[in-house]
């Protein structure tokens, strides 16, 4: 899985490409936690090129959300495939992990 990070107007944007599974999630977790540790308070994760996520990936997002919450921070996901969005819904993640349509929407919301 490829992870690209950019910063824009104080927002830390992660663009993921490929599969967010048990083997690739640890790297993503490391990067997200580092961003938060370094002071990033507003995170966007762009799922446009994410084909697949497993429970490992969900755990990373849950963890990031909890850590950000403690600092009054926020994380927003965008461009999530319907079949992946469904998993977030079943898991109840929509309660604390907003999913919006486009990257522009995410940058405006976060």
């Amino acid at each position: 899985m490829e992870i690209t990070e950019t910063k824009k107007d104080g927002i830390h944007i992660f663009k993921l490409s490929g599969n967010l599974d048990s083997n690739t999630s640890p790297e993503f977790e490391q990067k997200v936690l580092k961003a938060i540790q370094d002071g990033s308070n507003r995170l966007v994760v762009d799922f446009e090129h994410v084909d697949y996520i497993s429970s490992a990936g969900l755990r990373v997002l849950n963890l990031a959300s909890k850590k950000l919450k403690r600092n009054n921070g926020k994380i927003v996901l965008c461009s999530v495939a319907d079949y992946i969005k469904e998993v977030f819904e079943i898991a109840g993640f929509y309660l604390f992990l907003p999913i919006v349509g486009s990257l522009e929407d995410a940058l405006a919301t976060v």
């Binding site: 048990s22 497993s54 079949y83």
Partner: protein, 141 residues
């Protein structure tokens, strides 16, 4: 509707997940299954496979895990068989009791989702092997 089956054997290593995923995808594509179904199957099988390799073996040896996928009468049946100690991956919980509460709540999430996404899951111990069968009724959404 076309019928078909696939059998593969992988070892109990995390790196085998890629092979497993690719073979499963290829098989499903051959049946023209929608992306959503392929995703749900991959999700369930990864969850089970990772549980087996994480908690199903008490030694450091290499073990083989056999996976058979069968497509019959609108149902996709996946059978995952291993020769480890008696272990039901459907009941596995995070064994780390020192884990903080908020993380432990998420520990059962993968299995909860798997049970929701699949039509039927069944474990039995047979002939010294753990046999896990997952069924997905393709007519369900």
């Amino acid at each position: 509707m076309s019928q078909g089956s696939l059998t593969l054997e992988v070892t109990n290593k995390p790196s085998e997940l890629d092979t497993l995923g690719e073979r499963l995808e290829k098989f499903c594509e051959g049946l023209d299954l929608p992306p959503k179904t392929v995703f749900q199957l991959k999700f369930a099988i990864e969850e089970i496979f990772v549980n087996i390799i994480s908690y199903g073996f008490s030694d450091d040896k290499e073990h083989r895990i056999r996976i058979t996928i069968r497509h019959e009468n609108g149902v996709l049946a996946v059978c995952i068989e291993d020769d480890g100690q008696p272990f039901n991956p459907l009941e596995s919980a995070t064994p780390d009791v020192a884990c903080p509460i908020e993380d432990r709540q998420v520990g059962g999430l993968g299995l909860h989702l798997t049970k929701h996404l699949m039509s039927d899951l069944h474990y039995r111990r047979r002939g010294g092997k753990n046999v896990l069968t997952v069924r997905k009724n393709l007519k369900e959404s």
